[in-house]
């Protein structure tokens, strides 16, 4: 395969040498996960946008301290999540995270991906309601680990807690969801 995109490691090395286009590529590559993580924490798209933007600027300044060979994403997410939490703290309140499913059918007859269409709609709505009813900490853990598909390490970075805490929080949250889903089935 020709034209393989450069690895993060290579981009980081180039960005450290002052190559701006390399850092721009890093931002482009990670901005979606950064923005969505910040959104899960702040509950506001405007705050998430600012948090992600500021985080990328700060990460650039901190690149010299970034350990060579370490995975970039958890490190970036730590900075993003800090920025996001700072905003929540500064505002003294957190906007309620509104999770909803994308429109089933869009104008023009386009449909969601087949994978998406395969999920039983009713079960899905029940599950979404169960997630919405979780305590804030549990919901954030579920959102990071499953909705954003972050690794445990990245989830820990995003939530600002040790991996052990992530594990126990996830296990508690999954237990609660299971109970609710079983109650809905009964």
């Amino acid at each position: 395969m020709e034209d393989r995109p450069p690895h993060d490691e290579e981009l980081v090395a180039r960005a450290k040498r002052g190559e701006r286009d390399a850092y721009e590529e890093i931002v482009r590559r990670h901005q979606q996960i950064a923005f969505r993580t910040a959104w899960v924490i702040t509950g506001s798209a405007a705050d998430a946008e600012e948090a992600a933007q500021d985080a990328f600027v700060k990460a650039h300044r901190a690149l010299g301290r970034f350990r060579e060979g370490a995975p970039l994403r958890p490190w970036l997410l730590t900075i993003v999540a800090n920025e996001a939490r700072n905003r929540v703290r500064a505002a003294g309140r957190r906007e309620r995270l509104v999770l909803r499913v994308a429109e089933e059918r869009r104008p023009g007859g386009a449909v969601p991906s087949p994978e998406a269409a395969l999920l039983d709609f009713e079960r899905r709505d029940e599950l979404l309601a169960a997630v919405a009813a979780l305590p804030e900490n549990d919901r954030q853990a579920i959102a990071c680990r499953y909705f954003l598909d972050l690794s445990e390490e990245e989830t820990a970075a995003a939530l600002g807690c040790p991996r052990g805490t992530v594990k126990s929080r996830l296990s508690r949250a999954l237990g609660r969801l299971r109970e609710r889903m079983e109650a809905a089935d009964a």
Binding site: V27, F56, L118
Partner: protein, 262 residues
């Protein structure tokens, strides 16, 4: 992964995430800002609104650029077509430059239905590759003569998820004899295109860098909304049909799937 966790992962894919703003230019323009401890950089006016509008404008501009480039690149128009291959129902062109990728859209395969319903709607007998088992989703698009059938297979061990479709495999079938130029592929220099035969039938294997997949209406005009980026794909003539296999699999796997067609 237990069922509940699988459901949560799938739910994540279906959520209405707010649109991710393009931060790259704004971040780059701020890299020279002095770092002042405790002081937040100036807020942009109007918060996220400006960013959103800008993203939309950029997306629209990208679409216009893309449309222009692809139309200008249509066969017969002066531009460097480096290579051109054709099958019944499909064309593959290699271009010197690939246009800007279209914005990501949900995959539009038509209407979801059971295999029995699909069989009634299309003008051919559906072919199910035995190597893939039962499809997880069956779709029919009726805009072309004979209709187009799509079979969707979830990712699973041995069938990795393709970025372009989020599926393990996508199989498309239509009457290539009735719509000779329905399907088009435009590939750039980073994509390998190979002509081969599968049990005596003509086929084209496309692998490597993502390429453009597009559809043409009965007048041969490109349906803009149909353009998307695609991954590895095998195009195969099968009787009167044109069969397309798309996925993150390699050539050998694609050929094995193709050979398992009835």
């Amino acid at each position: 992964m237990p069922e509940l966790e699988r459901m949560l992962s799938r739910l994540g894919e279906e959520l209405a995430w707010p649109e991710t703003p393009d931060l790259s230019a704004r971040v780059t323009s701020r890299l020279d800002e002095p770092a002042v401890r405790g002081e937040r950089p100036a807020r942009r006016p109007l918060g996220g609104l400006v960013g959103l509008r800008r993203t939309l404008v950029l997306a629209a501009a990208a679409m216009l650029l893309l449309a222009g480039t692809v139309f200008a690149a249509a066969p017969g128009v002066r531009d460097a077509v480096l290579d051109f291959l054709g099958l019944q129902g499909a064309t593959v062109e290699r271009r010197e430059h690939l246009p800007t990728p279209p914005p990501e859209r949900p995959l539009d395969l038509g209407t979801r239905m059971t295999l029995d319903e699909a069989t009634e709607r299309i003008a051919f007998a559906p072919l199910l590759p035995r190597a893939l088992g039962e499809p997880d989703g069956v779709y029919v698009r009726e805009g072309l003569p004979g209709g187009e059938l799509s079979l969707a297979y979830r990712a699973r061990p041995g069938l990795p998820r393709a970025r372009s479709t989020r599926l393990g495999a996508l199989v498309g079938e239509f009457r290539g004899d009735l719509s000779p130029e329905y399907l088009g592929k435009v590939v750039g220099p980073g994509t390998t295109v190979e002509r081969l035969t599968v049990d005596g039938a003509r086929a084209i294997w496309v692998e490597g860098a993502p390429h453009f997949l597009l559809y043409r209406d009965p007048d041969g005009l490109i349906v803009e909304s149909s353009m998307r980026m695609a991954q590895n794909a095998l195009l195969l003539e099968h009787g009167a049909l044109l069969v397309r296999l798309e996925g993150a699999f390699d050539r050998e796997r694609a050929l094995a799937i193709a050979r398992s067609l009835p």
